[in-house]
């Protein structure tokens, strides 16, 4: 039997006060794969990622991380059992998430941001955690910024610290929610370069992005989402070259026509 996928999402459904944000989502991500998740604004990409770290509780469906159920498990006999916070917290370090807005801790230095979760959550000795933090920050080009507080870092630097913080937990899977869209255009490149380097190390990643060119060049697979459903999913090359779904074709045409229009004005209409 082959190893279970790093991420298996089945029948995931999430409603907000009657609005269906996720509609029976199925998705597998295998070890070492990079999956780009694309789709118009409001189609549920962020909601999916948030469900995968249980920041949002799905109403239905299952999530498995490296073969282990997250949040809710199906017991023999068809009984669904909800996990408690402790069980969920135990799995959370396996799934690293990087947000659009970084969400660093402002009262800690860059290094402390990376060290603290290791000592608190994984119980790593402080010097080992510090060594790991220095190693990661150096690898991400922040060797001379480690003692700065977030307010004294540029957006790109903050985002790299946030990536280092997630990586320090040795996750099986990294989730990125539009990691470059809060950045000034000239800072986008440095963060994309980090993602590229990360891809080179064989990290399994699920990346929500509006950078279609980047998705096409980096991702192994592309999943297209609309109205809370994954409408089409397949090898990146096939999706880019020969999209089957009309809505995906429309979406790609729009993106190619003008990247800016997509990020600001496309609404999820038929």
């Amino acid at each position: 039997m082959s190893a279970p996928p790093v991420l298996r999402v089945s029948n995931l459904t999430k409603r907000f006060h009657g609005v269906t944000a996720l509609d029976k989502v199925y998705l597998d991500v295998h070890a070492g794969q990079i999956v780009a998740l694309i789709g118009p604004s409001g189609c549920g990409k962020s909601t999916l990622l948030r469900c995968l770290t249980w920041l949002e509780q799905p109403d239905d469906g299952f999530i498995e991380v490296a073969g282990k159920p997250l949040g809710r498990e199906l017991m023999p006999g068809g009984v669904v059992r909800r996990q408690n916070r402790r069980q969920i917290d135990a799995l959370r370090p396996q799934v690293g998430i990087v947000f659009q807005q970084f969400h660093l801790w402002p009262h800690m230095t860059a290094l402390e941001n990376v060290v603290r979760p290791q000592t608190v959550v994984l119980g790593r000795p402080r010097d080992e955690a510090t060594r790991r933090g220095i190693e990661l920050l150096t690898r991400l080009g922040l060797a001379d910024r480690m003692d700065r507080h977030p307010h004294a870092l540029s957006g790109g630097q903050k985002q790299r610290v946030a990536i280092a913080r997630a990586l320090a937990m040795d996750p099986a899977l990294m989730l990125f929610d539009e990691p470059t869209s809060a950045l000034d255009p000239e800072l986008v490149g440095e963060v994309l370069a980090v993602l590229r380097a990360l891809a080179g190390t064989g990290m399994t990643m699920l990346v929500v992005t509006h950078e279609i060119g980047f998705a096409a060049s980096l991702a192994d697979r592309i999943a297209f989402m609309d109205h809370g459903r994954i409408l089409e999913e397949g090898p990146a090359r096939d999706i880019m070259a020969a999209p089957k779904e009309p809505r995906l074709r429309n979406f790609l045409d729009l993106v190619r026509a003008d990247h800016r229009i997509v990020t600001t004005t496309v609404t999820p209409t038929e």
């Binding site: 770290t53 920041l55 916070r85 402790r86 917290d89 135990a90 799995l91 959370r92 370090p93 799934v95 998430i97 947000f99 807005q101 969400h103 660093l104 801790w105 402002p106 009262h107 603290r116 979760p117 608190v120 959550v121 507080h149 307010h151 946030a162 913080r165 997630a166 937990m169």
Partner: protein, 219 residues
Amino acid sequence: MGFKLNYLLSILPRLIGAAAVNIRLAVIIMLFALALGTALTIVRSLKIVAVNACIAVVISFVRGTPLLIQIFIAYYVLPAVGLDLSPEVAGVSAIAFNSMVFVSESMRGGLATIDAGQIEASTALGLPPHAIWLKVVLPQLFRRIVPVLINEATIVVKGTALLSVITVVDVLRTAQQIASASYRPFETMIGSALVFLVINLVISLSGRVAESRFAAARV
């Protein structure tokens, strides 16, 4: 009977000696107020409707009634329900309870200014709730409410003078004793006012230093 500086200077040592009582009580009160105020803030953040409704009633009582009456309740009324407290304990309890509410109110205000994204990032990393409070929220919250805490500390120091009415021998009661023996209320009251003024100036100044240090770190 005019004002005699010499007489004022002669009673100052006794008043300063008595100030040790006010300072000791104020420190104890502030420690309790901080600990209980923090605990109360955490309880309120759980958003349990019935609990928060009860807390809201208590808060409106504390904010809407004079501190002096609250002190009298602790000293004269609680014994009726079997809680016989010494003057100091009753006084400390009453002021600490009062101050706890103000600390919690300002913490709740500060809480709203802490970006929810940070909490979500902490949660996603696997930090359990107590660690999020201890490592992420409270350190930022305390820094943010330093000005309020400093202000509250000066109010508490002044509040300890009220304990003279329930027989705690503090600066004010010492001054009254001196005045009733010497018939010189002018100097004694000026003297006790000076003692409080100096204590609170020291608190305000050290608060300002702490504030500017946090401002320099911009957190």
